[in-house]
Chain length 514, copies 2
């Protein structure tokens, strides 16, 4: 009987396939967000936030600490009071800037595969960044070092779900006047993704640009023609743009490089306690930064940025993955769509250890950003303590969620064979599909293969050492580092960079400016 | 200067508010899904799945093991082959059933607050159910007992985010012929939410109905007028309806009680390996069950049910939180909307311990269900090992995600005060909002207060014992049990139930039927 032979064939097949090598090919680059963007406010309320933000900029003004910044704004017609350093910018100036800010551009990698199209509808992730500390199960929590930084550059290079590099950890063992060399070089020699630069004054920024030109073999003109790197500009909320951030906008815009203008608005602390009010402040500050970039260079590549959460009213600490953050993120997406620009949001966690809280917060903020239609989701993996620590294990466990979101970007098959009538007809009631023709044709590539999830049953899992997700993640990152091979094979690149760094170090490097 | 005085006022305020009691009121009952439902397939492909499922039912047929079930189908005009027990149901019969299945009804609780409206657009959660084992940090993993069951009934009563009871754990220390008394009584004496009944044969089901009538003081007529309890009908995929499940559909439909018709389709095992094919099988089986309920009693309250995931091709184990499950859930929501019925989906995790994998899987499947527009999300908290174990800690940590989703069901304020122009005008550039008028008016109730998340900084957290989410969750469930007071205050209810149970036990109870 067909059922019986199918059944025994099925058992054999199951044994054979257990442990069988998969031939599944995945590509987590160049994603487009598959979801309909969701909002938290009616369109007229979003318009009201936008209009109120314009009033904040025009009537209340923004304090701009850099004289050159005030001068640029004044040249464009803004009202500048040099005593108070307040800049009041007319709505017409902002609207003109929004008209020149590009809707679509390409952030260039070392190879075409790593070019990242940036426009509304695109989705790309970057790892948690800017942490002073790192932690892992074996070495514990500690101040970040260059060795940690280099490991984390290798790890973020390994996984395609990270589309560009980020300054994962601050290497505190490197003196600050030469630290930017130490952080740029590995981005150019250990990987091929677009690198990251902190805007800590013109000398450091121009050093970074020069290193990119050296590594990529670009003339100044080639470099200016496309963005090859990115920085984040954080305003000093409320309503203040400090010296290095303002200089960063100018430097990046002049060089045609990408600025992500991101007020960090904590509702109830540096921003109004209401979600709508915090959005108004964020929008006012982001528009100010975007406007400056466009005044400097019309068409300069910018991202609208949102990193809006609330504080814990008990401790004053930033909280992540909260319903307020979720709603604010949805609202920020509406604002980004209102002005038509690509934009960045963020995930993250305030937990102190990579446990259920940490996973839940990261994923909750991730879903807020995905559903808000964020173009770039920063800090998408690894953040503990609201960004004070990056966890090696969490980088891996969060990455699983990112890979699953990446899988959701491809539509399931629904042709006649996939609809399954013939497959269902082939299997008797109460039987199984292990050895059906359809299964046999597809089983090696049908399903996502987990990175860190262990689906074995309790008995098997216990026999195998009862390893938690963090323990398995440890094995994964260690193996990845062990097997790491840089995609950069031309020794001339490292040599040119080293020669540059040696010279600049002899010249005294470039301390951060503020 | 204003900035300074604001700053020092802010510090004082922050100290005063640290640890201040909140006056935030929350209501996590009667939620409506705030999101635009998302799909994974084009509308024409959903129509193709629906049509293919109708062909499966009509051309291939479903094996119905209960003679009474076959008789009912035959009476309605289906083709029945008694030798093979196959039932072939014409599309016209299915369409007629879909026309009488109610779009909207109310599942009744003991008090009006617990009445749960059930219709498309509503969202309600139930805890993980049906587990043979329980686990907690202090007592370890063990077979479930009545004592565990009663604790878990208390815990699911405590939190409003659970709208009805579920059979969280199987109390294996109670003999099976009287177990249904032991599981029903606590649902009626320790809480006021709608209870749950397993369909394990007519005698057990009618015992359960009688206990509800006794506890709620209902005549047979009152009872039949509304659903007061629910059951899940799992088909024996593929294409088979076994004796107790078929009898359950008949018993619940005759009594006007709610059936959730849920094929458990594991793609690649008991269902086709393709998502679309597994959906076709699920849809065929769910439509068969819904049709039987409507043949028995036109207008009988039913939910369309989906519990579709894939197996791990390495071990054959069910996997949860996978991209395939997510897409299948979105597709199932599209099918539910195609037939216009409220429906249930599920969250869950296949992890063996409540770690980052467990949290990520539960939340990933939760988001699939939320975005698919599921009316009821079952197994929304607590499941480990794909449902073989319910974890006390995980019940709490997952609940945090449910509460946050519940918070997302309310829109943020966006009136003129909330838009924040005045608040922003009040605070100097670079200042803070801790003591702004808007903050002072709102700080006690502005933000969600976490259940288990700890947002204190690393130093404070370490000083406080470096407790993980699981350890904090343990303290939470223990405290909840310690403080538990049943909302059922009338001693006559317990007495009536005890008298009934004593009599039925003397009569021999009611063993499960199959």
């Amino acid at each position: 009987m067909r059922t019986r032979s199918t059944a025994s064939g099925g058992r054999r097949r199951r044994e054979r396939t257990a442990g069988a090598q998969s031939c599944r090919r995945v590509d987590y680059t160049h994603l487009r967000n598959p979801f309909i963007s969701q909002g938290a406010f009616s369109e007229d309320r979003i318009e009201a936030v936008h209009r109120t933000a314009l009033r904040v900029i025009q009537e209340l003004g923004i304090r701009v600490l850099l004289p050159e910044g005030r001068k640029r704004f004044a040249t464009a017609g803004a009202l500048v009071d040099e005593d108070s350093r307040m800049v009041r910018i007319g709505a017409d100036i902002v609207e003109a800037a929004l008209a020149t800010a590009p809707r679509s551009f390409t952030l260039k990698g070392a190879v075409a595969k790593r070019d990242q199209l940036i426009e509304p509808g695109v989705l790309f992730f970057t790892a948690g960044a800017g942490a002073p500390h790192v932690t892992d199960l074996e070495r514990g929590r500690r101040p970040g070092t260059l060795s940690d930084y280099r490991e984390l550059i290798r790890l973020t290079q390994c996984f395609d779900a990270f589309a560009m590099f980020s300054a994962v950890v601050e290497p505190q063992d490197v003196p600050i006047h030469i630290r930017h060399y130490a952080t740029m070089a590995p981005q150019l020699t250990l990987g091929d993704k677009p690198p990251w630069i902190f805007a800590r004054g013109t000398p450091q920024v121009t050093d970074g640009f020069e290193m990119i030109r050296l590594a990529r073999g670009l003339s100044e003109e080639d470099f200016k023609a496309n963005p090859w790197c990115a920085t984040v500009i954080n305003t000093n909320s409320p309503r203040q743009l400090d010296v290095p951030m303002c200089q960063g906008i100018i430097d990046f815009a002049e060089a045609g490089q990408m600025s992500i203008i991101t007020p960090f608005c904590l509702a109830g602390a540096m921003a109004p306690i209401t979600i709508a009010g915090a959005m108004t402040l964020q929008h006012a500050e982001a528009l100010t930064g975007i406007t400056l970039a466009q005044i400097v260079t019309p068409g300069a590549p910018v991202l609208y940025g949102s990193f809006l959460s609330n504080v814990d009213m008990k401790s004053g600490s930033p909280a992540f993955g909260t319903p307020e953050q979720f709603k604010a993120t949805l609202g920020s997406g509406q604002l980004a769509r209102r002005i038509g620009l690509p934009w960045r949001s963020a995930a993250g966690s305030a937990a102190n250890v990579n446990d259920a809280q940490a996973a839940n917060e990261n994923q909750m903020s991730l879903w807020g950003a995905v559903l808000a239609g964020a173009t770039n989701i920063k800090h998408a993996a690894g953040w503990l303590e609201g960004g004070l620590t990056v966890s090696y294990e969490k980088l891996i466990t969060d990455l699983e969620a990112l890979q699953i979101v990446a899988e959701l970007c491809t539509a399931p098959q629904a042709d006649t064979d996939a609809l399954g009538f013939d497959a269902i007809a082939e299997v008797e009631p109460g039987g199984h599909f292990f050895s059906s023709r359809q299964t046999m044709a597809r089983y090696r590539s049908a399903f996502y293969e987990p990175l860190v999830a262990d689906w074995s049953n309790f008995g098997t899992w216990t026999e195998n050492g009862a390893r938690t997700a963090n323990q398995r993640a440890t094995a994964i990152w260690k193996k990845k580092l062990e097997d790491f091979v840089s995609p950069v094979t031309d020794p001339a690149i490292g040599e040119a960079l080293n020669a540059f760094i040696d010279r600049r170090t002899r010249e005294g490097g470039a301390p951060p400016e503020s």
